[in-house]
Symmetry: none
Subunit: 202 residues, 2 copies
Amino acid sequence: MKRNDLNDGDGTALPTNAARLGTRLRLARQTRGLTLKALADEAHCSESLLSKIENGKASPSLPMLHKLVKVLGTNIGWMFEEADGEEGIVFRAGTRPLISLDPLRRGEGISLERIIPYSPGHLLQCNIHHVEEDGESAGPIEHVGEEVGYVIAGEIELIVGDEVFRLNPGDAFVFKSELPHHYRNVGKGRASIFWVNTPPTF
Amino acid sequence: MKRNDLNDGDGTALPTNAARLGTRLRLARQTRGLTLKALADEAHCSESLLSKIENGKASPSLPMLHKLVKVLGTNIGWMFEEADGEEGIVFRAGTRPLISLDPLRRGEGISLERIIPYSPGHLLQCNIHHVEEDGESAGPIEHVGEEVGYVIAGEIELIVGDEVFRLNPGDAFVFKSELPHHYRNVGKGRASIFWVNTPPTF
DNA sequence: ACATTTCATTCAAGTCTCTTGACAAAAATT
DNA sequence: AATTTTTGTCAAGAGACTTGAATGAAATGT
């Protein structure tokens, strides 16, 4: 017997769950700017498999899924978190998930503290960027939208377009995402930036 | 002579303008979901040329540019419209305009520190809300969109829908703007909240 | 006028990303 | 234990974009 889609025992197709997981994985990957190959290499599996998983044509084994979320800097729970209304409003300091950008080639010494948990339907993205001493975001990225941020602590250098700014705690910035931008920690110790932007992938 | 980038007469590279135009063209194309080939077919030119233009490795002739914007449904002017970037990117602590809400009957003991200056075309609104001891925002407002905030200092009570939260520095929140919401300072001294929301109008 | 340079533009070949189908091996089901 | 499912790999392929060499037309210099 040949099938194009997963189903349960009694013949009813259930692309729903597999597809949903796949979609989330894809979004998580894309948000981090990874290609299938890049993720496959990090997670030690084949591109092919990832492609199938993301398209709901296969569902990862638990060990596999574990490797994936690890590389993506998420946790398995997140992938299944229900997206409906009853999501949290308040997220306490110290209880928010951290994802490290280091292994992902999107920046060195940078970790993101998720303020808005992953879930489709949000109009905003929001993270606290923690930048270790000498940490630096990877090459400029351009996408559609707008960004706004507030320096909570530390001293950072922000490059937007061809302008360079040195920012201290309390300073804020706004710019269109289509301007190439990146930043680096130029002070002593860790720097933190509260960062909000309109959705990266659209 | 071989070059990778455009330059002017005296040898200084000027990727800036060409690159900016390229970026806008790419954005316009992608926004419309066109591939290089699709656009090339419509505009009767080669994919190759488009690729180079978008990457700032060539700059279109005027007739060419005209064909492109025509297919893309824009006008040449838009391609060169100065990035609203000229309105400032960084806003230093202590230099930002303050607006008191009291005379507006929008709250007592509250003043807003504008991070994003008012100007149409912004996708985000952003202010720091300074709330004096015992200050309180006026009755719940509802609009369309989403809000996210971060408590910089002080202790506040946030009421969203029928839920009440007590927030301390470092805590963050997110909610849909259509939920009725307001807040009050419940600590000693002034409280400050970094607050971002999608524009209330539209 | 003529030679030279510059640069938009094309064609063809190459690269990169992702998808698909056939198969092996492991796991689950009967 | 035998059979069916299904993860996972490999290799081939399709699509989107990039790059380099070649062309030709305009601008520049002599």
